[in-house]
């Protein structure tokens, strides 16, 4: 049995971004859009497409930027990196704003630039373009962050050699709350790394709750 480790992790919620257990950014009271932009500036990211994305994709994009800040995945082939993402509300936040553009027949103006973001897996498409990833893509919907589901499927992808590295996690923009947690998982025997398990994911996910 091979050892799979969580070699990097980020948790973002309530105006706080935590990278590998340490607070990276703290801007209380910000909404998801301002928070993502603040993190974008702090990370000195230069990627103009970011500003076209909806909030859900912005959150996924900037979470991945932070996750990979000190941890390159360049050693892997483009098709060896898989994405296993999940959330509760799919793209409902953008669905509602898109539907607003067609609901009123006297002001019917559907926009393809908005419609394209009415699918939750678009965030994985954005990440694949950004990081040149051609590997497996899976988007699960679950009521709550489900460490068993994400860890289980990640292990399955690694065991079956469909992937050598997995970026897995949870990117949620709900009506009231938003939160993100991403994990970089690869085969590693280094002792300082935390072994992959649902409990380890759950612990990291809970870590920033105060």
């Amino acid at each position: 049995m091979k050892n799979y480790s969580i070699t990097s992790s980020v948790v973002l919620r309530e105006g706080i971004a935590i990278l590998n257990g340490k607070e990276f950014l703290h801007t209380p009271g910000t909404d998801v859009s301002s928070f993502c932009k603040e993190l974008y500036r702090t990370l000195k990211t230069d990627y103009s497409k970011f500003f076209k994305m909806d909030n859900l994709c912005k959150l996924a994009f900037i979470s991945a930027e932070l996750l990979l800040k000190d941890h390159s995945i360049a050693a892997f082939q483009s098709d060896e990196v898989a994405l296993v993402f999940s959330n509760a509300s799919a793209s409902l936040d953008t669905d509602k704003s898109y539907y607003g553009s067609v609901e009123d027949k006297s002001n019917y103006f559907p926009s393809p630039a908005v419609f394209v973001y009415t699918l939750p897996n678009i965030m994985m498409g954005e990440l694949c373009i950004r990081h040149k990833l051609l590997g497996e893509n899976t988007f699960f919907i679950s009521e709550k962050f489900d460490a068993e589901l994400i860890s289980g499927y990640t292990t399955q992808l690694l065991n079956s050699a469909k992937a050598k590295c997995v970026i897995a996690g949870w990117i949620e923009v709900g009506e009231k709350n938003w939160e993100a947690a991403l994990f970089l998982i690869e085969q590693s025997d280094e002792r300082e790394n935390q072994l992959l398990s649902p409990a380890a994911m759950e612990e990291i996910f809970r870590s920033s709750f105060r």
């Binding site: 799919a90 539907y99 019917y108 699918l119 897996n121 373009i129 040149k132 679950s142």
Partner: protein, 385 residues
């Protein structure tokens, strides 16, 4: 390692309410696609395939279920009930997992007139899955996959792997999506909907027809005791183009990778494939991309069809629906005409099926591609009963 056999199937669609009724219509080359004039769906006429509401209510009434259900939930309950009955499994068993695939679920509830009839959380995809699973008395947490238009194939791959690993004995995989104003307006804004029924791989194709359906497939590690041949899902892979979020790769890179990986993993070569069920949406770019991918993987002589000419694009249901039809085609050794194809309209030679014909189908390839640059490829094999 266990194998995952298809032991129950259903399709609820404009072409019928059972898998057999659907297959009969498709094998007679009858389409559900027509021009729809309905201001509630679109200010302009468009080509699509819609389930008859009267029949849906009548069929649903026969289930004698208490409670208030959305249009989509009714389709799901009908489809799963029939597929489970067909399979003979116990849907409430702890050994059975429910897996759902959808892009938009109960999205019609965004319409205030429809939405006010239900509690606000009813639109959440996990909620739909839990509600339906609960009606079948199943206590396992249902899994929902929402991966654009590869959702259905992805859900079957996911369930197959769990059965192969012995984690569950049975899986009920249900794919569903509705024809709604939301979806019609969106594809219209992309100028992606054809005015006439879609023409996959044809020279004069101009875009998709939209459809709605719910299709269910029951997978099990145990074959049915039946003289008829059985079909096994061998496995599948997914990939991403890393190219564009709303258009396919011009080179077919992602789909090529998915096909190559699934062949390599399961020791299959292109010459072993007897039939390909293509994604074939009939947009200029999709079909061209698929033709390039089939050419690059040595599949251009293999008979291929798109079922979109019969149903339109049913989004999250498509992968399950087209797999059910492929399973029936394999059992009957029937290559089904790709409706809407007359003049070859892609840059590479592709063996698009022009007329129904009888031919041995022992191994089939199902592919799908979707927004977000995602692709999927899955292999099905016929085994003796």
């Amino acid at each position: 390692m266990s194998a995952a056999f298809v032991i129950g199937e259903n399709i609820v669609s404009p072409l019928g309410f059972t898998a057999a009724e659907n297959f009969r219509n498709v094998s007679e080359n009858i389409t559900g696609v027509k021009t729809i004039h309905d201001p509630a769906l679109s200010p302009l006429p468009f080509s699509g395939a819609q389930i008859d509401g009267g029949r849906l209510e009548k069929e649903f009434g026969n289930l004698h279920l208490d409670g208030k259900f959305t249009r989509l939930e009714k389709m799901m309950l009908l489809s799963i009930t029939d597929a489970v009955k067909d399979s003979g499994i116990d849907p409430s068993s702890a050994e059975t997992l429910f897996v759902f695939s959808t892009t938009k679920g109960n999205v019609d509830l965004l319409d205030k007139k429809i939405g006010k009839e239900f509690e606000p959380g009813r639109i959440q995809l996990w909620n739909t899955a839990q509600l339906v699973t609960g009606i079948f008395g199943n206590k396992n947490k249902p899994v929902v996959i929402s991966n654009a238009c590869i959702s259905g194939v992805m859900a079957i791959i996911y369930a197959t792997e769990l059965i192969q690993q012995g984690k569950y004995k049975n899986a009920v995989v249900c794919g569903m999506d509705l024809l709604t104003e939301f979806v019609v307006s969106g594809f219209q804004s992309f100028l992606a909907i054809s005015a006439e029924p879609c023409k996959p791989f044809d020279k004069s194709r101009t875009g998709i027809s939209l459809g709605e359906a719910c299709a269910t497939i029951v997978l099990s590690s145990t074959k049915k005791i039946n003289p008829e041949a059985a079909v096994e899902i061998i496995g599948g892979v997914t990939s991403n183009d890393a190219n564009h979020i709303s258009g396919p790769s011009r080179t077919g890179e992602g789909l090529v990778k998915a096909i190559e990986h699934v062949f390599e993993k399961h020791h299959v070569s292109s010459a072993d494939v007897d039939f390909i069920s293509a994604h074939g949406t009939a947009t200029p770019f999709n079909d061209e991309m698929e033709a390039i991918a089939f050419s690059r993987t040595g599949l251009n002589k293999i008979p291929v069809n798109s079922f979109k000419g019969y149903y339109g694009h049913t989004l999250g249901a498509a992968g399950v629906l087209e797999t059910v039809l492929t399973v029936s085609a394999m059992k009957k050794n029937l290559l089904i005409k790709s409706l809407g194809y007359s003049d070859h309209g892609v840059s590479k030679p592709v063996n698009v099926i022009r007329e129904n014909s009888n031919s041995k189908i022992d191994l089939a390839l199902k592919v799908a591609s979707g927004f977000g640059g995602c692709n999927a490829a899955m292999l099905l094999k016929k085994v003796s009963g």
